[in-house]
């Protein structure tokens, strides 16, 4: 079934939106991801991920206010839907389960 799979970048985006809570729009999401992962993310790439998430129904968006810094263009704020949160939890539980199976000695020599 298409749509339930959550890519790595998409997962980060989803989590970032939750972290940013009320203030999640393009610029803040981009900044937050760059800050946390220490890698540059293009706005285009972010847009692709957001579109995918939107198609899967994991996020919704509403237009917010315009500021002069944006040339009078409105912001689009994103929120994670319950479906999105479910998907995140699912992804996490799969990971947790796997982590619990990892033998302890596997990380001894790092």
């Amino acid at each position: 079934m298409k749509g339930t799979y959550l890519g790595e970048f998409q997962e980060i985006v989803l989590l970032t939106i939750i972290v940013l809570n009320e203030n999640a729009y393009g610029v803040t999401i981009q900044d937050e991801i760059e800050k946390r992962t220490n890698r540059t993310v293009s706005r285009g790439a972010l847009h692709t991920a957001l579109t995918r998430l939107d198609e899967k129904g994991f996020i919704t968006s509403i237009y917010g206010g315009a500021t002069s810094e944006r040339g009078g263009r409105r912001k689009r704020y994103y929120q994670v839907t319950n479906l999105g949160k479910q998907a995140l939890q699912e992804a996490r539980s799969i990971r947790d389960e796997l982590w619990s199976q990892v033998p302890k000695f596997a990380f001894q020599n790092i």
Partner: protein, 873 residues
């Protein structure tokens, strides 16, 4: 202070580029984000770096999720919309009757010219396309080099070349020799039928695709004294087509008909009524026939066509021709022949080879027709463009409303293009009738079109016509459609229309200027050509041609005729000459002084004792030819004396010079005169006395009383002497006029097109003038109320146009003059002198006509009553 005021805006061009490719749903959000980050980055990294980041970000937007979805089709049923387009178009046409009729009539006139050009060009290019083997057939053409004298390109080659190819060629699998000389009278049952035709080799029907109605194609020309005739001729002679086996007489030889051919297509460069078997020449030889068959140098009316075999190529065939030519050239002196191959389909239109089998239209004159037609067409398209742009303000509201309702730019563009096409289709209908009207005139325009084109309409031509109308509509409509579809909704609905109109107005001025430049240029060209033509006709030749009638003797003894003619009271004097001066025929030979050194090209002609007096040549030393003098008398021009250093005219009398192998005695010296045309410079000249020479022309001087009656009597005298023979007589001035028929037919063509171009641009001008005055009528009225005089107002309205006219004239005059120099004067030696007023005068006339056109409108507007114009507000 906010960041926005501190830093420059992000690169505009990039933003626009982004807007162009970005899906409009996301653009607001994405661009907003980019801009926000840009300003923030400006504060952190500086403007330069953040601009670079901005650009990079935009480039990285180039991904499927961002790019616009390309709409390939509209799923909707749009027929109602199209219906609406058509209805609106018709309403617009009928609402603005003046503009519509200017547009349609202007387009129709120029499209008629366009239709003519299309029909003409497509007919020219269909020549010789009906032959099955057209791509494999080649004609052998000779380049004849008369050593030390001239090099001339001929469409002919010797029949010897044909025979050698037939015998030894490995590259041609079929050779057909043709001799162009089966002309004259065919006799059947004591009735004479004038025909034109050729003698051809036996494979004629195998090589060319001329289908037989009756007879056996394999055996058609295989025997001597056999002939094929066309269906048309068969019906003329026998009133039937199954006439195989009948016998026709020609020059006391009997030819048996072996086949009747379907009439050959008009688009064949081989034109004939009958084709006789070339074997006749071998079966019944005569000195002339033997020479035609076997002499390498006798190549003037014989043609050789060959089919290149499949396993050969052009290069190998050419090598073979070169080898044959080398062998044969070795056997002759004084000339050399270089054979070349020309593809059958390249023969017509031609590149000016001499001695074509029938008249071949030169490529140059076709290009001329096409270019001129295009110019006229553009002019008419300009009219449409111009008037549509002028009226676009009136339709701006419609565009605005359509946009608000949801019309896309492309749809609006399509709507206006559709309107233009509608106009051009309406124009096509009128143009079609105009075309039928001017077709006969065009065919008679010059000798080439008269004998090679019929301008028949075929289904293909109708197809071309429709495509043409669509194209013209598209061409004329593009610019207005683009401007209309770009109109900003918000401006229209707010009522701001001044800005967009001023932009259009400049464009319109440029267009009016262009059109006007064309018109003035055309008129100046035609005027100059006309002057040059008049100059050529009335050129002081150095002898008199007034009231001289030239009778074509064709080598008959002139004494019989002259005795008869002298009895006629209207005939003043007579003389005979070998060929006529000043009509394009020239003969030149080498002449040298008596020691044989210092040879010089000298033009010459043979005359009788009376010629110089009859034609009023001025003898400046010595005397005329005398009947009791020696046989080697010659009379020369002053320029020959200089070239041979024979001293002054008086000293030269009695001296001798070498002409061919004879010594010629100078008995008289005449003033230099123009034996050639305005295309030739004056060279040394000699009149030669040759008492045994057959003379070809008799010059009859009439005394000017009752010329028609005298001509009648002369013709009667001729018919009494030669009842069987045609009487050819022309006035000298007509003969000279015919010599310059090339110039006169160009003048006719240019004149016609100049007329069309001017009419079209005046129509356009009228439209613009009407529009300008209409849209400024309130302003004019208010000015008038405030006290402006009639003159003020007319000047106000005409000033802009006057400036355009002056600028156009300044551009057009030098342009037309240099065109005239390069096109017409190129090889003319005796030219008219062109002064400033000759050029400016013509331009002035056009300007005055144009001003009158505008004046008619401005004057009316300026005179109209203020009460009427101001009442409705």
């Amino acid at each position: 202070m906010s960041k926005v005021e501190l830093f420059p805006a992000p690169p505009k061009r990039w933003t626009r580029f982004f807007e162009w490719f970005c899906n409009e749903v996301y653009f607001e959000e994405l661009q907003g984000d980019l801009e926000e980050r840009y300003f923030r980055n400006c504060g952190r990294f500086g403007v330069r770096k953040s601009k670079a980041i901005y650009r990079k970000e935009i480039l990285r937007m180039f991904r499927p999720s961002v790019i616009k979805k390309i709409k390939t089709q509209y799923q909707l049923n749009n027929s109602a919309m199209y219906k609406n387009y058509l209805m609106v178009a018709f309403r617009n046409l009928s609402r603005n009757k003046l503009f519509s009729s200017i547009n349609i009539v202007g387009l129709a006139v120029s499209m008629a010219v366009g239709l003519l050009a299309i029909t003409f060009v497509s007919e020219i290019h269909s020549y010789d396309q009906f032959h099955d083997f057209k791509s494999d057939i080649y004609r052998i053409n000779n380049l004849r080099i008369n050593i030390g004298r001239s090099t001339t390109d001929y469409a002919t080659t010797s029949l010897l070349m044909g025979r050698r190819l037939q015998e030894e060629s490995t590259n041609f699998d079929m050779i057909v020799p043709i001799f162009n000389g089966f002309n004259g009278d065919l006799i059947h049952d004591e009735k004479h039928f004038q025909i034109k035709g050729q003698y051809a080799g036996e494979d004629f029907l195998n090589l060319f695709t001329f289908p037989l109605l009756s007879g056996n194609p394999e055996l058609a020309l295989s025997e001597p004294f056999t002939v094929l005739i066309t269906e048309e001729l068969a019906i003329k002679i026998f009133n039937a087509t199954d006439v195989v086996g009948e016998v026709l007489e020609k020059n006391e030889e009997l030819y048996t008909i072996t086949g009747v051919l379907k009439n050959p297509p008009l688009t064949s460069h081989i034109k004939f009524d009958a084709i006789a078997s070339l074997k006749t020449f071998e079966a019944k030889p005569s000195p002339r026939r033997t020479r035609i068959l076997n002499d390498w140098g006798t190549m003037w009316s014989s043609y050789v066509y060959g089919r290149l075999s499949k396993n050969s190529n052009l290069q190998r065939a050419q090598e073979e021709l070169d080898r044959i030519a080398q062998e044969e050239n070795a056997k002759v002196e004084h000339f050399r022949i270089e054979p070349h191959m020309e593809s059958l389909t390249d023969i017509f239109p031609g590149d000016g080879k001499n001695n074509q089998m029938s008249i071949v239209m030169p490529k140059r004159s076709i290009n001329q027709v096409v270019i001129l037609a295009l110019i006229v067409l553009f002019s008419a398209c300009f009219n449409y463009t111009n008037l549509s742009i002028a009226r676009s303000l009136r339709r701006a509201k419609e565009v605005g409303v359509r946009k608000v309702v949801g019309a896309k730019k492309a749809q609006l563009y399509f709507q206006f293009i559709l309107e233009a096409i509608l106009v051009s289709v309406l124009a096509l209908v009128i143009a079609f009738f105009l075309f039928k009207l001017i077709r006969p005139g065009f065919i008679e325009l010059n000798s080439y079109t008269l004998s090679t084109t019929t301008l028949e309409l075929t289904p293909k031509i109708y197809l071309y016509f429709s495509i043409f109308a669509l194209l013209i509509g598209f061409l004329a409509g593009t610019l207005p459609a683009l401007l209309m579809s770009k109109i900003k909704t918000i401006h229209v609905l707010k009522g701001i229309s001044g800005r967009s109109s001023s932009k259009g107005f400049n464009l319109r001025r440029v267009i009016v200027g262009l059109q006007f430049t064309l018109s003035v240029g055309f008129v100046i060209l035609v005027g100059l050509a006309q002057k040059q033509y008049k100059y050529a006709l009335n050129f002081d030749l150095g002898y008199t041609t007034d009231n001289i009638v030239n009778i074509y003797l064709d080598g008959r003894d002139p004494s019989l005729l002259s005795t008869e003619l002298k009895k006629i009271p209207g005939v003043e004097s007579l003389s005979t000459i070998y060929f006529l001066h000043s009509t394009g025929t020239l003969n030149s030979d080498y002449v040298s002084n008596i020691q044989g050194t210092d040879s010089v090209i000298t033009y010459n002609n043979y005359i009788d004792y009376d010629y110089l007096d009859n034609m009023n040549h001025k003898i400046i030393a010595g005397q005329n030819f005398t009947a009791d003098g020696p046989a080697n008398q010659a009379i020369v021009t002053e320029s020959l004396l200089q070239k041979l250093s024979l001293g002054n005219p008086a000293e030269a009398i009695g001296k001798e010079f070498k002409f061919y192998n004879q010594n010629r005695l100078i008995v008289g010296v005449v003033e230099n005169f123009h034996y050639g045309t305005i295309f030739n410079t004056l060279q040394p000249y000699a009149f030669i006395l040759d008492r045994d020479r057959e003379m070809y022309y008799m010059n009859v001087k009439l005394n000017g009383n009752d010329i028609l009656g005298t001509m009648d009597k002369i013709e009667k005298a001729w018919t009494q002497l030669y009842p069987e023979e045609e009487f050819y007589a022309t006035f000298y001035s007509d003969a000279i006029e015919r010599t310059y028929s090339g110039i006169s037919s160009s003048i006719k063509t240019f004149g016609l097109l100049a007329f069309v171009a001017i009419s079209i641009s005046l129509l356009g001008l009228l439209g613009i003038a009407v529009y300008t005055t209409q849209s400024r009528i309130k302003e004019i009225t208010i000015r008038k109320v405030l006290g402006a005089s009639l003159n003020n107002l007319v000047l106000l309205l005409s000033k802009n146009f006057l400036i355009i006219f002056l600028i156009s004239s300044v551009v057009a005059i030098p342009l037309a003059y240099s065109l005239f120099k390069s096109l017409v004067l190129r090889n003319i030696e005796y030219r008219i002198s062109v002064g400033f007023w000759e050029l400016a005068g013509e331009a002035l006339i056009i300007i005055i006509i144009a001003l009158l056109t505008i004046g008619s409108q401005t004057f009316r507007a300026a005179k109209s009553s203020p009460a009427v114009n101001l009442r409705d507000e």
